[in-house]
């Protein structure tokens, strides 16, 4: 399936890009992160990282669908 991936802040610097489209075998948001971390070795999982799908905060266990836009948020630090 085709998925649009976007990276923010630290993740953008680690991935070396802010967005990319991938053709992927399917699975959860967590699975996708692992796939992208394998593609970009400097992209590292963090326990406090968050994920949004199609601009809605979501769970890492959510299964993705064709044409989803997945947003990988490194640990947030507002305030």
């Amino acid at each position: 399936m085709k998925i649009q991936v976007r990276y923010f802040a630290l993740f953008r610097e680690q991935a070396g890009c802010d967005a990319e489209t991938v053709n992927w075998s399917g699975g959860t948001a967590a699975d996708l992160f692992q796939t992208m971390a394998a593609k970009h070795p400097t992209l590292q999982t963090q326990a406090a990282a968050l994920v949004a799908i199609n601009d809605e905060m979501s769970s890492w266990e959510t299964r993705l669908h064709e044409d989803d836009e997945v947003l990988f948020f490194p640990p947030v630090a507002g305030g």
Partner: protein, 152 residues
């Protein structure tokens, strides 16, 4: 406007007036300012990156949650984005209520939730010329529950 992101300086007095009400005997305001140090390092300025579509939606939810949980009349929050200098106001939370207890509780709830849920990141620029994204290692270890530690 319950929650908003701003790329301009926050008008603290003007923002505070937005929540005043004759029925309210209490007004609690929290202002988060850019300070000159963090974890032993001298900070010169700070840069906020915000993903607005989700931050604005989640921010509005946080305000709605506070209005539902606590006996308060009005609540709002504004967060800055972009490059900020020492002494700048980075975030303001204003809550008004009939009585002070609910206003304090709601204000605390809003700033705590905003810090842990909104897609906002800060990059600190240090006096040494180095700059780094700020990550709370305790949050990472605790799965962002904030159960056993507090942020300054």
């Amino acid at each position: 406007m319950k929650f908003s992101i701003s790329d301009r300086p926050i008008d603290v007095a003007g923002t505070t007036r937005l929540v005043t009400d004759r029925h309210c005997g209490a007004l609690v305001v929290f202002e988060g300012w850019i300070r000159d140090h963090n974890e032993g390092r001298e900070v010169e300025r700070l840069e906020y990156e915000v993903y607005r579509p989700v931050a604005e939606k989640e921010g509005a939810k946080i305000i709605d949650e506070a209005l539902a949980r606590f006996a308060v009349s009005h609540a709002l929050c504004i967060h800055r984005e972009g490059l900020l200098e020492l002494g700048d106001c980075a975030v303001i939370v204003c809550v008004s209520a009939a009585h002070r207890d609910a206003a304090f509780d709601a204000c605390r709830y809003i700033i705590d939730q905003a810090k842990s849920r909104l897609p906002i990141w800060k990059k600190e620029h240090y006096a040494t010329g180095v700059s780094e994204w700020v990550n709370c290692e305790h949050c990472a270890a605790a799965g962002n529950t904030h159960g056993e530690h507090r942020h300054e």
